[in-house]
C-alpha cells in the first residue's frame, strides 16, 4: 500500500456526496458531471449547467488561492491525453454517465444500470492503467 490517505479520501468523498444531495434536493437534478458538461453544448439555453461547471472551476481557483497543494503532473504525453479525453467524452455519452452520475448518484439511488456501469468502468480502467503503464511504458 502506497500513499494511503484514508481521512482526506473519506472527507472529500463526503463533500462530493453532500454536494450531490444538495443538488438533488434543491434543483432536482443528478450531479452527473459528464451529462452536465455535454448538456452545455446540446442545450445551451439551460444556464444551470454552466453554473455547476463554473462552481467546479471556482473550487479549483479557491483551493489554489488558499495555498493548498495542486500538483501538476509533468511529462504525460499530450497525444495520450487527447486519446483518453476522446474515449471519456464518447464513452460517457454512450453509457449515460461517469464516476459521479453512475457512481456517486446512481449507486446512491441503487440503480442496477449504474452498478453495471461502475463495475464495467472500474474493470476497464484498471486494465487500461495496467496496459499503458506496465506494457506500453507511458509515463504518468
Amino acid at each position: 500500500m502506497h500513499d494511503f490517505t484514508p481521512i482526506s479520501a473519506l472527507a472529500g468523498g463526503a463533500l462530493i456526496g453532500l454536494a450531490s444531495v444538495w443538488f438533488l434536493a434543491a434543483d432536482g437534478r443528478i450531479a452527473g458531471v459528464s451529462t452536465i458538461l455535454h448538456g452545455i453544448f446540446s442545450s445551451p439555453e439551460d444556464t444551470w449547467r454552466a453554473a455547476f461547471v463554473a462552481g467546479l472551476l471556482l473550487a479549483g481557483i479557491a483551493w489554489q488561492a488558499a495555498g493548498a497543494p495542486a500538483p501538476v503532473r509533468e511529462g504525460f504525453p499530450p497525444g495520450w491525453a487527447a486519446a483518453a479525453g476522446l474515449l471519456v467524452g464518447f464513452g460517457t455519452r454512450m453509457g449515460g454517465g461517469c464516476t459521479s452520475g453512475h457512481g456517486v448518484c446512481g449507486l446512491g439511488r441503487m440503480a442496477p444500470r449504474s452498478l453495471a456501469a461502475v463495475l464495467t468502468f472500474m474493470a476497464t480502467g484498471a486494465l487500461a492503467a495496467y496496459v499503458t503503464r506496465h506494457l506500453l511504458g507511458v509515463a504518468s
Binding site: 472529500g12 463533500l15 503532473r73 487500461a128
Partner: protein, 139 residues
Amino acid sequence: MKKLLSALGAGFVFGIGLWVSGMANPKKVLGFLDVAGAWDASLMLVMGGAVAVTLVAFRFVLARPKPLFSEKFHLPERKHIDLPLVAGAAIFGMGWGIAGYCPGPAITALTTLSTESMVFVAAMVAGGILHRLVAREPG
C-alpha cells in the same frame, strides 16, 4: 436565480471535495486504478464516503413531493442494462485508466493551467460531440 446560485454552490462544494479527496490529482487516481503497481486504496474510500452520504440522504430527498427550486425531480428513466450502457462505460473506463482523469476532476484541474488538462477536456468535449453525430438517438 436561486437555481443558478444553487447549481454554482453544488459545483463548488463538489469541486472542493474532488481536491480534498485527491481525485483531482491524476497520479493518485492511477495509483488506485493500477492494482499491479504500488496500489493506493484511497479512492475506494472517496467513492465509499460519497455513496454513504447519497445512499442515506437520497431516500429522504426523494420522499419529498418536489425539489426546493424546481417543479419536479429529473431522474434517469431508463431501467434496463443494455449494450450502449456497458460498451459506453467500458470505453469511458479505458480513457480514465489511461490519463487518470474522469470528467469532474479534469474540469476543476483546468485551473492549474496544465497543458494535459486542457488537451484532455477539449478532447472530452469533442468526444461527446462525436457521439452526438454518430448516435441514432439524441442524448
